[in-house]
Amino acid sequence: MIRSEIESKLTNVFRETFNQPELQLSPSLTADDVEGWDSLSHINLIVAVEQEFGFSFATREVRSMKNVGDLIELVAKKVG
């Protein structure tokens, strides 16, 4: 999958998970920047991403993400 498609799908997942239809993703975006992104909704996000792309994150991968950029890289590694 090419990068732009990954980012486009991820944007949709973020928008649905956090109920923010206008949300724009950027690599430096973190949980602090998005309303409603707490440890609970993080789990919802992770599983939604897994369902969308059809793979599973490893436990340490879930923790290791610090920002959206890390997430994009991880997804790209798995489906790219």
């Binding site: 649905e16 109920n19 609970l40 789990i43 939604a48 490893a58 879930v62």
Partner: protein, 596 residues
């Protein structure tokens, strides 16, 4: 898994959930050793869809014992109607691995649970819903695991069995069989070890809705909301083919393939009937054609006597279902309509939106599974008399049919030779009494929903309470126990704390008979006043004028939530009744054969 059980959809709906349409509110406390927020969030949405607003006390993570043992805890302050105690097997595993005495482990765990139930029971009247433990996928002994007395797998199986057995004798404890749900989903699909490690989530997210829905099913069953009647189509539902066209030997029933599937489905339906679900038939057929397989087909599992109301004609099915509802006198929302034909299903949905109409799969082999998966037949009680319910309703249907041939209602009632028995609560009748308490919605003055334990307390307090049950029989059959009244005693007055009756026995003077007896009891004990109360609910408006009809006077301290009524005993005029009492009862001083 079912329509509308998508986790992400439900999480979206949880935001800004609107419960203003909900006519009922229930208070649930959740105590768990796993993270509960996601479960509770989904539970509230599912509950709102059923018209019930759930107020939830979240006990916090892994503090089950503290919440229960501390008499000042938030749990008791919340005054829950239900306390759900739920577990993740991971926690239990850790305790098992750390245990020095493995042989004693299972018993110790079960005993601990029963002690917690007892502690709750001392401080609260809440129903307890105890979740069991999901048996883990890993087996260090492989298939040998169950042969090893103190392996983890065996220990957990033993604990689950112990909990179930203990719950049998504990009246206020209901079970949530989480292990069953996990097995249904497939244990590997149910569990998500990563989510446990990261967030202490009890199962994979897609399974949270079915977990929540089953918890809700148990809560609703204990609140009197559950399916009571199955309305069945015949052609291509109970057998393959059309009886009118194919004839007795042309329909598929028994043997192989589809014929086998229909037999299997009928066996399931028969089991439901034994469990107390009323079976009825609505079929577009001539009556003679429709009844033929019941009488003559060798592979027919259901018999004519298993069907309480049998309607086969050319009217539309909504009209026929209304007829059934009138005869059975139960709510439309407790009826389930099963028909292979989408046209009929949609018609009934359109005209009778409260009736539950499940989508049926095309393949008859899948009928049983589809119906079972909906879990429509949850219950909070079961007694032996349940298995006779179908017969009782069948007798009722026959009474309805003979009624029309009498010129006056009075003549008809007298011809029934009715006998009423009034008795104090007794240990043998407690389960049936508690069941009526939970099921009764319409002819119910105060909807107290007393549990069996609470009823037992009344029974054991003759100083302050006279709790009575009443039974009815007539020439067509015995209705059994059909009503309950709980009387609170004091020197000057008698208070009717609860009065409820099965809707099968309306309009024959039972309540008049009981009220005559109650007032005459008050008179003999020099009580000057009888008080009654009517607490309005969505379903009990039929008894709004109950006390007024007996000559009670509205009390000035009434409010919209609770109407208070008083009667001056000396002003009471006994009502005409059409029944006899069966036996000498020292409470009422009646001799056999009197009409009170």
């Amino acid at each position: 898994m079912g329509e509308g059980l998508d986790y992400f959809q439900l999480t979206r709906e949880a935001r800004g959930l609107d419960t203003s349409h909900c006519k009922k509110t229930l208070r649930l406390a959740v105590l768990a050793d796993f993270a509960t927020q996601q479960l509770i969030s989904v539970l509230k949405v599912l509950s709102a869809r059923r018209g019930v607003r759930l107020e939830v006390y979240d006990g916090g993570y892994d503090v089950i014992d503290i919440e229960i043992l501390n008499p000042e805890s938030g749990l008791y302050k919340f005054e829950p109607q239900f306390v759900a105690i739920l577990h993740a097997t991971e926690k239990l595993k850790a305790k098992f691995y750390a245990a020095t005495d493995r042989p004693a482990f299972s018993e110790m765990v079960v005993t601990h649970h029963t002690e917690l139930w007892e502690t709750i029971g001392k401080r609260s009247k809440a129903h307890i819903i105890q979740g069991n433990y999901v048996v883990p996928s890993e087996r260090v002994f492989g298939n040998y695991e169950q042969k090893v007395a103190h392996s983890l797998g065996r220990a957990i199986s033993t604990i689950n069995l112990g909990i179930a057995e203990a719950a049998q004798s504990s009246r206020s404890v209901l079970l949530l069989d989480v292990d069953h749900l996990a097995a249904e989903a497939g244990r590997s699909a149910w569990a998500d070890a990563r989510l446990w490690a990261i967030a202490k989530t009890p199962c994979s997210l897609p399974n949270l809705p079915v977990f929540a829905r089953n918890l809700l099913d148990v809560i609703l069953a204990a609140s009197g909301v559950f399916a009571k009647c199955l309305v069945l189509d015949l052609d291509n539902t109970l057998w393959g083919g059309v009886i009118g066209d194919d004839g007795l030997h042309g329909i598929q029933l028994g043997g192989y393939d589809e014929g086998e599937a229909f037999v299997s489905f009928q066996e399931f339906l028969l089991e439901l009937k034994r469990r107390g679900i009323i079976l009825s038939v609505v079929s577009k057929n001539n009556h003679d054609a429709a009844i033929l397989p019941f009488r003559e087909h060798p592979s027919m599992v259901l018999k004519e006597s298993d069907i309480s109301v049998f309607i086969a004609n050319w009217d539309d099915k909504a009209t026929n279902i209304r007829r059934i509802q009138e005869v059975l006198n139960i709510g439309f929302d407790s009826m389930v309509f099963v028909d292979d034909n989408p046209f009929e299903r949609n018609l009934v949905r359109e005209f009778l939106p409260s009736v539950i109409v499940p989508e049926m799969p095309e393949d008859p082999s899948l009928y049983r599974g589809a119906l079972a998966a909906l879990n429509l037949f949850e219950t909070a009680s079961f007694s032996e008399s349940d298995s006779q319910r179908g017969e009782l309703y069948r007798e009722q249907a026959q009474r309805e049919l003979t009624k029309s041939s009498f010129s006056s209602i009075e003549d008809y009632l007298l011809s029934l030779n009715m006998i009423v028995k009034l008795e104090r609560f007794s240990p043998a009748s407690l389960p049936r009494i508690a069941q009526l308490m939970q099921r009764s919605n319409q002819f119910n003055l105060t909807t107290r929903r007393y549990s069996e334990a609470a009823c037992e307390q009344f029974m054991n307090d003759p100083q302050n309470y006279l709790p009575l049950s009443f039974s009815l029989a007539d020439k067509y059959g015995d209705y059994g126990l059909i009503g309950v009244t709980v009387l609170k005693l004091s020197d000057e007055e008698l208070e009717i704390d609860e009065f409820l009756m099965s809707c099968r026995v309306l309009q024959r003077g039972v309540e008049q008979f009981v009220m005559n007896s109650v007032v005459s009891f008050a008179a003999r004990h020099q009580m000057a006043t009888v008080r009654g109360r009517y607490i309005p609910t969505e379903k009990n408006s039929m008894v709004k004028e109950f006390y007024s009809n007996f000559g009670f006077v509205a009390s000035p301290i009434s409010s919209d939530k609770s109407f208070e009524w008083t009667l001056s005993v000396q002003d009471y005029l006994p009502r005409k009744v059409f029944m006899h009492t069966e036996e000498l009862d020292p409470v009422f001083g009646l001799t056999a054969g009197t009409s009170a």
